[in-house]
Amino acid sequence: MNKYVKMIIALSLIALISGILLGGLNELTKETIENNVLKFKKIPAAAHIFEIVSGKLSPEERVTVEENLLSNKRSFELEENKKVTFFVVQKEGQPYAATIESFGKGFGGDLGVMTGFHLQTGEIVGIGITTLSETPGLGSRVTEMEFSKQFSSLGKDSKIMVKKDGGEIDAITGATISSRAVCAAIANAQAVWEKHHEKIVQASQ
């Protein structure tokens, strides 16, 4: 008996100390990590949507646009304690579209998509990919314009699915799973938009 008690105590103690340490470190790094994700993933995707709306940007213009997007970060409560952050894309200085990030299950893990919705009509203005770990050369091609432009001007009555599943999107050859993941993510974002667009439009002004 004594032997087992010793084992349990040793293992529990090690696990406890490890838990406390990691909890502390998580608190310390959480904010920096969130800022990094915002700066290197979400903002570039939102800037991509800005480019679709207002045309190609030079590197200098991109810096200003990204700063502008960061200051136009808004959020609303989806349900209790669950906040959704979104960005407002402007056209000629006026709020034009709201971008919502959502996820689909890709071939190499979660695939994050930023979808931009027109503030008045609710149509999709464009998409940008935030997180991607798909196969290079196959699934990673979902970032190409050729694929992503198919989603522009789709509305709530459109079937956002690949053609194989009865939708209207041409999947990328050899990358049906990745194409499906993008469609699923956009459909999720659309569901959020449909349910909360009044709140979003209000917060965008």
Binding site: K3, M7, I14, S18, L21, T29, I33, N36, F40, S133
Partner: protein, 200 residues
């Protein structure tokens, strides 16, 4: 040579992880597409190795023999999660390019191997020296493999020369998984030839 110095230097040649004890091949094949990734992976693994070796050695009289592997894995996993958070917070680009291979350090055979084979039987100072030597050896091996793959596969060495193209028509397949096996095999053979020459 003092014993501590010997524990340190054996990881650099006699028992260099990748080439002589041939452990830790999964990250070695997967992330060595650029020298920068090789260095990042090596430093991350070294940190975990030194930390876990030190702690395992410190607790070697407390940890009951029957649950020792479970204890080692908790210790190793703790250090790995630390590394993961730190790279995400301060080296975001690196954490993006290493991706899943940072959490996978938990199951890197070198680290558990050193805890089981060395740290649990030796003093803290010796274990730290062993961990540091092995870690640096692993880093050097990764950088060598990554350097060869990047130079001949992509035609440049970003870590040393920036974006300058050094080779006009690189063999692209060296950047793929089969190229990694080929490069590693050639290096292993070369190491054996040199070793045989030294031993006479």
């Amino acid at each position: 040579m003092s014993t501590i110095a010997r524990e340190f230097t054996k990881g650099l040649w006699d028992e260099i992880p990748l080439f002589r004890i041939v452990l830790g091949l999964c990250p070695a094949l997967a992330v060595t597409t650029t020298m920068e990734n090789g260095l990042g992976m090596g430093v991350a693994a070294t940190f975990v190795l030194v930390g876990s070796n030190g702690l395992v050695s410190m607790l070697r009289k407390i940890i009951p023999n029957e649950v020792r592997v479970a204890c080692y894995i908790v210790i190793i996993a703790t250090f790995v999660v630390c590394v993961e958070m730190i790279t995400k917070a301060y080296f975001f680009a690196l954490s993006e390019s290493l991706g899943i291979f940072i959490p996978l350090i938990v199951v890197n055979c070198i680290i558990l191997g050193r805890a089981e084979a060395f740290a649990r039987k030796n003093t803290i100072v010796k274990s730290l020296a062993d961990g540091l030597g092995m870690g640096i050896g692993f880093t050097l091996a990764l950088m060598l493999l990554a350097g060869i793959r990047e130079l001949f596969g992509a035609g440049k060495l970003t870590l040393l020369f920036g974006d300058t193209i050094l080779i006009q028509h690189p063999f692209g397949f060296l950047q793929q998984a089969p190229g990694a096996f080929l490069a590693l095999g050639l290096l292993l053979g070369l190491m054996n030839v040199i070793n045989n020459k030294i031993r006479g």
